[in-house]
């Protein structure tokens, strides 16, 4: 019945990093790893291994190239275990600093051991809240090790009261005054640790939306969903009570659907006033909420059958779309990928300012300070544009791969399963510049010719049958059986069509675009305000207004997909 029997951690080379047994006698990591690796990639997150002793359910996640395994000998709720593994990754990252690296774990086994012991008790998941864990486990202090234990104030959040802080800086934590001094009471808010002190009070809101757009061969969007996540970083003293007001052009309740919230968010408040998030944040970085936005709206299905494709296409405001045209050329072995860049993303900004914005975006955290509108929001710039064209397995090579229009690097080696077409942000701005007058956006085109295994074999395949395809049958048409005597005559004329048909199997069936745009969200959601409710907050000195920062990011990880 116990959920968590053991936790095994492996680094990126699948060398064991950690083996922690909670309860029972689960199979050792050395027996489980080969069985796990025996599954072909991509591996499912739950694998049943009937041949181990006892028969084991093996849960796995891969986070930051580290492999987390968790064996279970009896039926448990799979999502419970997987969520737990994700929490372990989060907690380790929170304590050891992002990103989670094997070397960090190896350097801090004592902290990791304490954390793992706190998180699960006797197989029952006990405590996975990073803040609550900070109350009981002291985070390794990198500043301290850097400065060799010199008593300098640290910027790392620490759970200690100021008087203790000076103590802990002096090398090892002193006895009796560990992070959990006797006088300290546990925090009244379960997700927030007690006695938070920060010298500089800061709050950051990062809204990330991941695009998932599917376009039909005609270019009509079949589905367009933006999955949003609001990440929040709170470095505020005391127990602050915050109100985050989200806004959107068409009304927030129309835009956001299926939200999920961190337990700290007051649900009733959201229900009464959609768009208003009232919460006492945990200390540090956490995901405040998740939501999704249907960019097509509810009438998407109606427009699907409606003939006016252009209209519905215009409605979809995506930085870039792609279209693939196949079976071109005399033998039908050519294909063309056309990348269409949305003019909205050049708009007012010249290529020069565009690159400037990119440079600014490169600063990462530093960009969106002091509330919503900054330089990047005005002229969003597309970055890291990659067009990915998966190829069928039967394609052996792509000849004559070239960018006909526009620029960019194409990556393909014979035998690869996909073509990668990278366009740097600078190249995008030059493409954009070419087409500024039109206002319909710029296009770039990639052409290539696919080559199947060897042509002889495909010919042999065709010759094998006694009847060779001569007509394109359509069942609505009257029957047109090809008669054997007349066939040889037609054979030569239809050879081309036959080849086209044969080459059709080699054609790519879709193309995907990856990119990221800083300072712009496809849903149009924005942070209207972020305020500290002074009346309800505690411990934050009056008159102290925390520093606020907002950042928007739109990411497509092969998220815009066009079929053909």
């Amino acid at each position: 019945m116990s959920a968590i029997e053991a936790l095994y951690l492996f680094d990126e080379h699948n060398t064991p990093l950690l083996e922690h047994t909670y309860i029972g006698r689960p199979p050792a990591s050395s027996t489980l790893l080969p069985l796990y690796l025996a599954h072909p990639n991509p591996r499912p997150s739950l694998i049943y291994l009937p041949n181990t002793n006892p028969p084991t359910l093996l849960y796995s996640i891969v986070q930051d190239q580290l492999l987390f395994l968790c064996p279970c000998s009896s039926d448990t709720e799979p999502l419970q275990v997987l969520e737990f593994l994700h929490r372990v990754a989060d907690v380790l990252e929170d304590f050891l600093g992002p990103p989670l690296l094997a070397s960090k774990i190896e350097g801090n086994y004592d902290v990791v051991a304490q954390l793992l012991n706190e998180m699960v008790d006797g197989g029952i998941i006990a405590n996975t809240e990073p803040n609550a864990l900070r109350d009981v486990v002291e985070a390794p202090n990198f500043m301290k090790s850097l400065l060799g234990g010199v008593g300098l104030p640290s910027s790392t959040p620490s759970s200690l009261t100021p008087s203790v802080t000076t103590f802990s800086m002096a090398g090892r934590p002193s006895p009796r005054l560990g992070p959990t001094s006797a006088t300290q009471t546990s925090s009244p808010v379960p997700w927030r640790r007690a006695n938070v002190r920060h010298t500089s009070n800061e709050m950051y809101v990062d809204i990330v939306e991941t695009l998932e757009v599917t376009l039909s061969p005609s270019g009509r969007p079949l589905s367009a969903i933006a999955n949003g996540t609001i990440a929040f970083t709170a470095k505020v003293s005391g127990i602050p009570d915050l109100i985050l007001q989200l806004g959107c052009a068409g009304g927030i309740h129309n835009a956001i659907s299926l939200p999920v919230f961190h337990p700290c968010v007051r649900l009733n408040r959201w229900k009464e006033r959609p768009g208003e998030l009232s919460f006492v944040p945990p200390d540090g970085r956490f995901v405040l909420a998740g939501y999704e936005v249907d960019l097509l709206g509810s009438a998407a299905l109606d427009s699907f059958s409606a003939s006016s494709t252009a209209k519905s296409q215009l409605k979809l405001n995506v930085p870039a779309t792609v279209s693939v045209h196949t079976s071109l050329g005399s033998t039908g072995s050519d294909f063309e990928v056309r990348l269409q860049l949305n003019p909205h993303f050049t708009g007012k900004s010249s290529s020069q300012s565009n690159t400037a914005a990119i440079g600014k975006g490169g600063l990462g955290r530093g960009t969106g300070f002091a509330s919503a509108s900054t330089g990047t929001t005005g002229s969003p710039a597309i970055e890291e544009m990659i067009v990915n064209i998966p190829l069928p397995a039967s394609v052996k090579n792509v000849a004559d791969l070239r960018v006909v229009r526009g620029t960019g690097d194409t990556g393909y080696a014979p035998g690869d399963r996909s073509i990668e077409w990278r366009i740097s942000s600078r190249e995008i701005s030059t493409i954009m510049a070419q087409d500024r007058g039109g206002g319909i956006g710029a296009t770039a085109t990639l052409r290539g010719t696919v080559i199947g295994q060897d042509d002889d074999s495909s010919d042999a395949l065709d010759a094998g049958g006694p009847v060779i395809l001569t007509y394109d049958y359509d069942d609505d048409q009257a029957a047109q059986p090809s008669l054997l005597p007349s066939m040889p005559k037609q054979h030569s004329t239809d050879a081309g069509a036959k080849r086209v048909k044969a080459n059709k199997v080699l054609m790519p069936s879709c193309a995907t675009v990856s990119f990221s745009v800083k300072g712009w969200l496809p849903s149009g959601i924005r942070v209207e305000s972020l305020n500290v409710d002074q009346k309800r907050s505690k411990g934050l000195g009056s008159g102290v207004t925390p520093y606020k920062g907002v950042k928007y990011l739109c990411v497509s990880r092969r998220g815009v997909e066009c079929r053909c």
């Binding site: 709720e77 990252e93 992002p98 990103p99 996975t128 006895p175 599917t214 996540t229 009257a478 199997v505």
Partner: protein, 842 residues
């Protein structure tokens, strides 16, 4: 919800670079980090300065993670010595070491117990909790009584943190020594009533570990647990929801009430039916019928159950996917469809989380969708397959699309079909995807709710594939077409003709063989207009160029055609009289439709013209003999062997009957259910659901089937849940006592319920399949014995009686509707039991 580390990786572009760098570095890093010789390490551990001790402990803990225990065991006594250290930091590390190694040296470990026990009275609550946790985790059975005492003390502690540790220690103590159970139950009962939500969460988890059947302990705390539900942490919520699923089934009998159907929902065609029925049915029956028509069965929820369902609502917005599934499970098995509808959106929202969670969530979504497809229709955009989806993801997505297909509006249906056909013809990226999407098209057209028009469209889509150069696609399409035809041969006469036409287009031998087989299969239908002989004639011309599988089928076709010919025209007497006359109207249509085809052949092959119909026997026989002759000189042994068999079979007229038995045996109708139908019986959210029957029939080890609904009248007294009784008693112990006293009678019920619990919940659950037969028999016997008590029939009785006589059902008209519902899904079938009980009261 995405985890913060995944979001961070999106936000921080530098992160990938760091990871890359780390990977490169790790090749170098592999060298073991500086390890001190054991002597020096021991010196550190024995040191008087805390700093050195801490350093030593750190190294030992590091070693214990990297090396087998034999390497770190030598330090046991040196480490344990430090357990008395006043430093919390040192203590913690010692404890960690102790937990890892105590089993190897139980005797030395016992030395530390005394010190740990002292820590139980420390002023620092965290130290107390830590000590309690460590003490209970040391796997040395001798100390069970000490642990039990520690738990007792801990469960009355001021600090909730300690109380939680006590709650979590309970199952550990039980594992040490099962004899401590009575004491532990007492502590547990105290803790279940704790005011702090994070104590109760842990207590519920312990309860599930220790004694999941002792529901009598839950009654007094039921309402408070439900109220705390939304405040508990996610893991506590999960445990509580799991408990409540069992509790709800065992304590709240399913009651249904008949209510007048709302005017709007009453379907119009029911009214004429009513009026006509009055003429030929007795008055009273029509009355009842009327009632039945106007009434709608509504589940009446116990107020306490409703409290649970209402309190779950806020959990649907939980960031924890497992909690969302658990709420959906509660609604599916305890609630009403209205509640379940609320959970659909949150279920779908799980699809935006990480791939691993998405995978498991999809299984659960499919499971809900199997029984309640309608509410999923509007979320179809989430089920569209993307090129980046892994095979285990798109498989489930395709299934979802086919499940919602029959319930979708026309536009969506065409969208889904377009989607499926896209993947079937251009999805050459993955042959498995092609296969699966062709099958999905087949399932779409088979679904009973699909209109004939749509079915025809599906078939048309499939037929288009036959000419494709993709052999996977052709083979799979034909397979599905064959299934479709076999399911309803009469409706697909024209399809066979169409297929025969496609013989020209089909190049792959397997495809040709399939088509030829189908033509042969239908050679007997509609003898007047059958094309089999014609097809055979054309095929024979190119026989030499065919591949072996196709040749085999041609020979078989020849044999079949010949057998039909022989049976239709027995050699001695003229055949015409015996031939069944097909009804004229469909025949006409058929001829019209297929006229072109026939005409073509009539022109091309003048030997088969109407006037020559009389000499047809000769032609078929000639064809048959010609084929046999061809085969006789074929290179394939197999082919020649078969030809000999057919030749011998059909040589004499006496064996014609035997031959037709052999060759024309009716083939079983294939049924392609949705792939997840096999998992249908598993409980939502379980691992068995994901693994399926691979984990063994009846689920994986530890899988618990859904308990059946408690029968009306057998449920524990609702007054047990009244808090007034329990809150009046001041101390926890007496509260427990009172609960105990009250539940005495109830426990008898529970015992009775326990035995009935063994009977299968429903036919669908895989676990119950094993003992199904026996119970049906028993139920049948019971039903016989108490004929007058028919109204108290159980599901088993129903099943048994359905087989015996359907008469009894017609006697009581009111039950008619219920039996219909029975097949729908399990919760419904439970409705009936309770519904019947209700009527009895009425």
């Amino acid at each position: 919800m995405e985890s913060i580390s995944r979001i961070s990786s999106l936000l921080e572009t530098a992160r990938d670079l760091t990871l890359e760098a780390a990977r490169d570095a790790s090749n170098v890093r592999r060298a073991p980090s500086k390890e001190l010789p054991s002597g020096q390490l021991k010196k550190l551990l024995d040191s008087r300065t805390e700093r050195d001790v801490l350093e030593g402990l750190r190294r030992v803990v590091t070693m214990s993670y990297r090396q087998p225990p034999s390497q770190t065991l030598p330090f046991f006594s040196h480490v344990i010595k430090n357990v008395a250290s006043p430093s919390l930091q040192v203590k913690k590390l010692v404890y960690i070491y102790l937990l890892q190694h105590a089993e190897h040296e139980p005797d030395t470990a016992l030395l530390s117990i005394n010190t740990i026990q002292k820590s139980l009275t420390d002023t620092n609550p965290q130290l107390r909790a830590l000590a309690l946790r460590v003490m209970s985790s040391i796997r040395v059975p001798v100390i069970s009584q000490i642990v039990s005492l520690g738990i007792k003390r801990g469960s009355g502690d001021m600090s909730p943190y300690v109380r939680r540790a006590a709650a979590l220690a309970i199952p550990k103590c039980y594992r040490l020594d099962p004899n401590t159970e009575p004491q532990l139950l007492e502590y547990l009962s105290t803790l279940l009533g704790d005011k702090q939500y994070f104590v109760t969460g842990a207590a519920v988890a312990s309860f599930l570990e220790l004694c999941p059947d002792r529901l009598d302990l839950i009654h007094p705390h039921y309402r408070s647990l439900i109220r705390k539900l939304s405040d508990m942490d996610e893991w506590g919520q999960l445990a509580t929801l799991r408990l409540m699923m069992v509790y709800g089934r065992k304590c709240f009998p399913r009651r249904t009430r008949k209510v007048k159907r709302a005017a709007g929902t009453a379907n119009t065609n029911s009214k004429p039916a009513k009026s006509t029925r009055g003429f030929y049915e007795s008055e009273s029956e029509s009355e009842e019928e009327e009632m039945e028509q106007d009434m709608e069965e509504i589940t009446v929820l116990d107020p306490d159950l409703e409290l649970l369902l209402k309190n779950c609502q806020s959990l649907l917005q939980s960031r924890n996917a497992a909690v969302v599934i658990a709420v959906a499970r509660t609604y599916l098995y305890l609630g009403t469809p209205e509640y379940l509808t609320q959970a659909i959106g949150p279920l779908v929202s799980l699809l935006r989380s990480a791939g691993d969670i998405q995978h498991i969530a999809l299984y659960n979504i499919v499971q809900v969708c199997l029984t309640h497809p309608e509410p999923f229709v509007k979320y179809y955009t989430h089920f569209l397959v993307r090129s980046t989806d892994a095979p285990h993801i798109w498989r489930l997505k395709l299934e979802l699309l086919t499940l919602i297909f029959p319930h979708a509006q026309l536009r969506l249906q065409s969208l889904i079909l377009a989607e499926l056909s896209h993947f079937s013809h251009s999805g050459s990226l993955d042959p498995a995807l092609v296969k699966e999407s062709v099958r999905a098209i087949g399932r779409c057209s088979q679904s009973p709710a699909t209109s004939p028009h749509t079915s025809a469209r599906c078939l048309k889509l499939l037929l288009k594939h036959i000419g494709s150069a993709d052999t996977h696609l052709v083979a799979e399409s034909l397979e599905v077409i064959r299934h479709l035809i076999q399911r309803d041969p009469n409706a697909h006469r024209t399809t066979v003709v169409r297929l025969a036409k496609h013989l020209d287009a089909a190049t792959s031998p397997q495809a040709r063989a399939s088509i030829i087989w189908l033509v042969g299969e239908f050679a007997g239908i509609d003898p007047e207009n059958n094309i089999a002989a014609d097809v055979l004639r054309i095929l024979v011309q190119g026989f030499a160029d065919e591949a072996e599988p196709a040749k085999l089928q041609i020979v078989l076709l020849a044999a079949k055609v010949y057998v039909h010919h022989l049976t239709a025209n027995p050699p001695p007497e003229p055949p015409k009289v015996e031939e069944p006359k097909p009804s004229p109207s469909p025949l006409d249509n058929f001829q019209e439709e297929q006229g072109g085809f026939r005409d073509e052949h009539l022109e091309s092959s003048p030997q088969i013209t109407e006037p020559q119909q009389q000499e047809k026997p000769h032609i078929i026989e000639a064809l048959y003999n010609y084929v046999l002759l061809l085969v006789r000189y074929d290179t394939s042994y197999d082919l020649r062997d078969r030809a000999r068999v057919y030749k011998a079979l059909l040589a004499t007229t006496t064996s014609t009957q035997l031959a037709s038995l052999l060759l024309l045996a009716p083939k079983p109708v294939p049924h392609i259910p949705s792939p997840s139908e096999t998992r249908r019986g598993y409980v939502l959210g379980s691992a068995s659901l994901v693994i399926g029957d691979e984990g063994g029939v009846g689920g994986l080890r530890g899988y618990e089937d859904l308990p059946r609904w408690v029968k009306e009248g057998e449920e524990p007294d609702p007054a047990l849940r009244d808090e007034s009784a329990s809150t009046s008693s001041s101390t926890y112990v007496s509260k427990y006592e009172s609960a105990r006293n009250m539940s005495a009678a109830d426990r008898l019920d529970a015992a009775a319920g326990g035995s009935s619990r063994m009977t299968p919940d429903s036919m669908l659950s895989p676990r119950s399949l094993n003992d199904m037969g026996g119970n049906v028999g028993m139920g049948g016997g019971g039903g016989h014995a108490s004929k007058e008590k028919q109204k108290e029939k159980t599901l088993d009785d129903w099943l048994a009686e359905e087989e015996k006589d359907s008469q009894s059902e017609e006697e009581t008209d009111s039950e008619e509707g219920e039996t219909e519902e029975e097949s729908e899904y399990e919760t419904d079938s439970e409705d009936e039991d309770e519904g019947e009980g209700d009527k009895l009261i009425k």
